[in-house]
Amino acid sequence: MSKSNRPPKDFGFGADEEMLRDLARKLLGERLPVDKLRTLVAEDHAAVYERHERQRWDEALWKEIVELGWTGLAVPEQDGGVGFKRAGIAGLVEEVGRFALPSPLVATLNATDVLAQAEGGRQWLARIADGTTATLAITNAVGSWELGEGDLSASEDGGNLVLDGAAYFVQDAFKADVLVVAAQCGGDRVLCAVPADSTGLSLVPDRIHDLTRDQATARFEGVRVAEENVVSRDAVGALERAWPSILVTVAADLVGCAEWQLQTTVQYAKDRKQFDRPIGFFQAVKHPLVNAMLDIDRARSLVYNAACAIDFDDPAEALKAARMAKSAASDAGAFISDRSVQLHGGIGFTWECDVHIFFKRSMHNQALYGDGVYQRKKLASTMIGEI
């Protein structure tokens, strides 16, 4: 990837990025239209919420995705990946959100971004480029996103480390081959890559609303980590450097999801008649949808701005831009989620209507790594100054 001094006007979203995005849109449009999605994840409410059966995803589609090389997009070229621009990855993830794709792609991208910032992450990056899936296990029991917090401790044992404790809110844990874990080791925070089948590691499924992912608590009881899998002795630094990318990826998913919600609700407003008119005639329907459009536009523009800032290696600017993008995307997602149910009226409240699938994916992503209020609090510290 070539880097110049100045971020380009077009966010660096050029022909390659457009081609990947369009390919993704076409592939997902064919393989995961909303009726297939519904069959896949929401055929039987009792299976999910009462019998707590593992949520389903299309593993055949995932194999194709791996073959297309999407898992390696964020892996630097020198580590065997594509080293794709974040702007291009954002374009891809927007489509993933638009189709609410159940997959470990976002989790793997997030973990890749952290490994790429870890001094010892190269071997795992190469495996990810080959299709290994990964996820982050860095969150404590109350769901704090503060980078120094966690409920995992590591102790030295010869050349190895031994992990005890738990990491919570691990995204798509059951789809991941390896967990990227932060643990307290004396005065250090270490970052480890822990294969999902390690002895002493157990995944306890969370019962969650979102139908398009899984989430788990990862429990560690004397899990031994070989020296080569201790990828960094400065986990906080690696996470900090990766954080803009992580936020932008989740924000892009939110934006794509929100655009689906907008378009679907607009279509409903054109089709559905009440009082002898399509309900889109009424300003109480039309104006909120226009407001949602403007909010989504803002979030989308801020996502590409942040992606571009990451590509052009301006860490302070990138974190600021990414927090703005996540704040705008969380708020836009919350607003269109609300309106998508309300304006669909009675049917929007039912299981048979697809809006709830996107509503729940959005609600999950709104909270993930901090909502708008959280991001703005952090932004205020840098933009206005500490209190």
């Binding site: 409410h45 009792a46 999910v48 919420y49 009462e50 707590h52 969150t139 029991a141 109350v142 769901g143 704090s144 996103w145 503060e146 917090e149 919570y168 809110f169 969370d206 019962r207 969650i208 609303h209 979102d210 989430q215 608590t217 559905r272 009440q274 009082f275 309900i279 009424f282 109480a284 329907v285 919350a334 609300d338 149910v341 309300q342 009226g345 009675g346 049917i347 929007g348 409240f349 039912t350 299981w351 048979e352 209507c353 809006v355 709830h356 509503f359 609600m363 999950h364 909270a367 993930l368 901090g370 909502d371 209020v373 959280y374 703005r376 609090k377 952090k378």
Partner: protein
């Protein structure tokens, strides 16, 4: 809790209510009780609440102000006291809410003597559960756009059509049914029936799955269902008038009436959540933006209480219906906003469903948030409610 200026009868009743409730707490149970009436899904839950309502009824706390000849207790101005006392102790909700707050007011106002004697006592005791049949799949917010037809045949009527959003439908003995008896008039073509449901030929109840994956609402299909003409309420063509009686009462009657989960003070609940949630490295309860959002809701909550209080002071009401009619929008959006705020405060933990042990308040917040759309949509969406307020209270021209 202020109860000034009580009559001797009321004071005596209040003492009785307090004593009875203290002596008769709701029975312990192993049943998985729902978070609200709207999530009732299992027969065993229904039986638990039926039994509770029956005992309250026998103790005089239900049907308190209804005449004795209709199964009531013949008091005056005591039902409010009963409701308040039940709410105060966090008693389970009263199961037969459609019967109590919709059917009974309608029958008292529009019904025959025979109808009153036949239906009111068993609704009070919860022996017969009622459901409501106003909403249709095609009608949406336009309640007058009923397509379910009732056609005269001999001494009775033949009903064909399809109702949706029918809470309690799967457990109900009867339905208050709004049906079209003439296609020539939109409003005057509607009539009102007290329609049998359970075990009645031509009526099929099919539970509807909500977005939360829970049951609670139903679809009800009528295929050549025959109703006797004695089950018609008020005159043919007066259905809209009766429905307005029902809905005015419903929107105004959200107060009191036993609390169950809702008896927990919603602001206390939010504060409790904030005190057990993390935000930005500290407690959410110490985050000033969260605090501001909670206090906003606290002010709305107090405003709802004080609006209800002011609604009963004629000198402080320029338009008699302005406060009562406004409450529907205010209360339903208050519930929604509170629930949404709870989701935000819960943060990562808002991702968890109710059966997850780590879900705060047993998973109340995201479920309450999603279920709140039933409040802002059903019975005429809040968009339509705002039209009605703008037209009926402020006198602006119709938007339809």
């Amino acid at each position: 809790m202020s109860t000034p200026n009580l009559t001797a009868e009321q004071i005596e009743f209040q003492e009785h209510a307090r004593a009875w409730l203290a002596a008769n707490p709701a029975p312990e149970t192993q049943i998985d009780l729902p978070l609200s009436q709207l999530e009732l899904a299992k027969r065993e839950q229904v039986e638990y609440y039926r039994e509770w309502q029956r005992s309250c009824y026998e103790a005089g706390l239900v049907g308190t102000d209804i005449a004795k000849e209709y199964g009531g207790h013949g008091h005056s101005g005591c039902q409010d006291i009963a409701n308040r006392e039940m709410s105060r102790v966090g008693a389970p909700f009263l199961l037969n809410t459609v019967g109590l707050s919709m059917m009974i007011p309608a029958v008292l106002k529009h019904g025959t003597e025979e109808q009153k004697r036949r239906f009111i006592p068993k609704a009070l005791s919860a022996e017969e559960i009622w459901c409501q049949g106003f909403s249709e799949p095609g009608a949406g917010s336009d309640m007058a756009n009923q397509q379910t037809m009732a056609v005269r045949r001999g001494e009775g009527w033949v009903v064909n059509g399809h109702k949706v959003w029918t809470s309690f439908g799967q457990f109900a003995k009867h339905m208050i049914l709004l049906a079209r008896t003439s296609r020539d008039h939109k409003y005057d073509g509607l009539s009102f029936f007290l329609c049998p449901v359970e075990g009645h030929a031509g009526v099929t109840v099919k539970p509807l799955v909500k977005m939360t994956g829970e049951l609670g609402f139903n679809e009800v299909f009528f295929e050549d269902c025959v109703i006797d003409d004695s089950l018609r309420l008020d005159e043919v063509g007066k259905g809209w008038t009766v429905a307005m009686t029902v809905l005015t009462h419903e929107r105004g009657a959200a107060e009191g009436a036993g609390g169950g989960i809702r008896a927990v003070h919603p602001i206390e609940r939010l504060i409790g959540l904030a005190k057990s949630s993390q935000r930005g490295g500290g407690l959410a309860a110490d985050d000033p933006v969260t605090r501001d959002a909670i206090i906003r809701q606290a002010i709305v909550h107090e405003g709802i209480r004080q609006d209800a209080r002011r609604a009963r002071v004629p000198a402080l009401n320029d338009h008699p219906m302005r406060l009562p009619m406004g409450q529907g929008v205010v209360r339903t959006e208050f519930e929604q906003d509170c629930a949404r705020l709870g989701v935000d405060i819960a943060g990562a933990r808002s991702t968890l469903y109710k059966h997850d042990d780590a879900a705060p308040d047993n998973g109340y917040w995201p479920l309450a948030y999603m279920n709140s759309y039933a409040l802002t949509i059903a019975g005429g969406s809040n968009e339509i409610q705002r039209n009605i307020l703008g037209e009926r209270i402020l006198g602006m021209p119709k938007s339809k």
